[in-house]
């Protein structure tokens, strides 16, 4: 994957933000509430169309693509407040994650043509591997709605991985998790990057987590980028400190 340049202008939520993501690195996106982090994510998922600027992935603009083709491009995501298919099993949720990496059509599926069986078998195998990879085998056939919050968050991660993303967007993955779960999460995020060779962009309020896992950190405030660099550098940045603690502390 080549650099992703993001720049918007003219809209209040994001005001001319630009940055590059380098392949194989974990980037943390921080900023106080309302800084525009989720807006930025939603632009990357094509829920919002920026009024100006462009988003390049692999050298071509994603703005020409409809939202449902973003997964095909290799951009996967999780959601801040879970967005799972609640009435379905863990395995089915993960299989739906693999939708964009499998093929079938309405008629062949209804007639259960032989080739759809092979598609289904390989999707099933891959989904089970991902479920096992994230330690969810114990709840494979359970309905997602019946699982504890922390487990549901892992299911979302598994579902995102099933789309074989090259860029993985994690929207507040630590939100609502307890201390131990946060520890396990930071281990898994790094492991996912190492094992699957995926670029990860994390939006997170949990500073310890962001600073410990990120290779680079980008700080936003009021829709503008106020700092970018390695974690230690951003942590010391006067603007970042003032954004978080208030102007008096700068």
């Amino acid at each position: 994957m080549r650099d992703v340049a993001v720049s918007f202008g003219g809209i209040v939520a994001l005001d001319g933000v630009s940055f590059d993501l380098h392949p194989g690195l974990i980037a943390g996106l921080i900023g106080p509430n309302g800084a525009g982090k989720t807006t930025l994510f939603n632009c990357l998922s094509r829920y919002y169309t920026p009024s100006s600027g462009d988003i390049l992935f692999d050298g071509s603009s994603i703005l020409a693509k409809p939202p449902h083709q973003i997964a095909h491009l290799g951009i996967g995501r999780t959601f801040q407040n879970l967005a799972l298919f609640r009435s379905l099993s863990v395995l089915d949720n993960v299989k739906i994650g693999g939708h964009c990496r499998s093929r079938s059509d309405y008629l062949s599926d209804a007639l259960r043509l032989p080739w759809t069986g092979r598609t289904e078998a390989s999707l099933d195998l891959r989904s089970r591997e991902i479920v096992a990879y994230l330690g969810l085998d114990g709840v494979l056939d359970r309905r997602v709605a019946d699982l504890p919050f922390g487990t549901q968050k892992r299911v979302e991660l598994a579902r995102a991985l099933a789309s074989s993303p090259r860029l993985l967007l994690l929207d507040e993955p630590a939100c609502g998790l307890n201390h131990e779960e946060v520890g396990a999460l930071s281990t898994s995020i790094r492991q996912i990057r190492d094992d699957l060779d995926v670029t990860i962009l994390v939006v997170e309020h949990h500073m310890n987590l962001v600073m410990s896992i990120s290779d680079r950190v980008i700080a936003l405030n009021f829709g503008r980028k106020i700092a970018e660099g390695v974690p230690a550098q951003v942590q010391q940045d006067a603007q970042v400190i003032s954004a978080y603690l208030g102007a008096g502390h700068a």
């Binding site: 298919f85 079938s104 309405y106």
Partner: protein
Amino acid sequence: MPAPSEEMMEAIAEPAVPEVSAPRLVGHRSVIFATLAIALVLPFLVQSFLTFQLTLVLVYAIAIIGLNLLTGFNGQFSLGHSAFYALGAYVAAMLMDKVNFPYAATLPVAGIACFVFGFLFGLPALRLEGVYLALATFALAVATPQILKLSPLEYWTGGVQGIVISKPDAPYGLPLTQDQWLYFFTLLVTVIMTLLAHNLVASRTGRAMMAIRDNPTAARSMGINIALYKSLTFGVSALYTGVAGALGAIVVQFVAPDSFTFFLSITLLVGLVVGGVGWIPGAFFGGAFVLFVPNFAESISKGLSGAVYGVMIILLIFMLPTGAAGLVRAVTQRLRGQNIR
């Protein structure tokens, strides 16, 4: 206390055992074969009027499966399925009446006509959700009987009089009455349609349909083309209901505009809820309910049959909020529990 602790361990370990689905599948299959066997001998054991009614149960079941694909699996509401049923019925009746089409060949034509109509109706309906979609489809249901009565179409539709069709005989000199033959013919179509619907919901397409129902935003992020699946599902749902309508016309030997009012849509919806939303075999429970229970209500009180029927529906919803699906689930769970011991 070694004994209880062992028992407890078993109880704790039990939910984690993944093979729970295997015995259920075997049980499932034997239940299906038993039901089919009963269905095959039934018309030789009962009177011809009951055979005729059972045929109608199957016809309703096909229509309810169609509605279930749309509402139960894809989360789109429809109060307009009487229109698709009517279209299927009229296509079949007109083909037989005007161009002497063989009755069996009218089914695919009716199905395809309804698919196209349903798909096209589904396109603008994409912008509507929940109660708004229900209203749009309601309009379709209300308009249909009047359109069928229009005088410019009278040559084809027979206007208010409708169309009378003759009942087909059993082919190849089979020793079956007309009612028995139509029952078996309908049963064959029902089995095929049920199998196709079962395949569909268990497939990648079916999961995409359910993903859209559960969470459209997330579904789109998973690469699911919502517009495509929603409009295709609308078409396929209409196809099922249209085939049911065509079969219904052949079985009843008559089509008329006032058989396809808005009330038919509600009847199908009642059948869907009674059978269990999102459970394919529920259609047979639902079909039997909407055919037999109103008659039963009438036998209790002629003057208040509607009220009795209403009370029965309310009681049923209180006792079985998830329809026949919930009852069957509870029974199988109990049976499985006994098998383990």
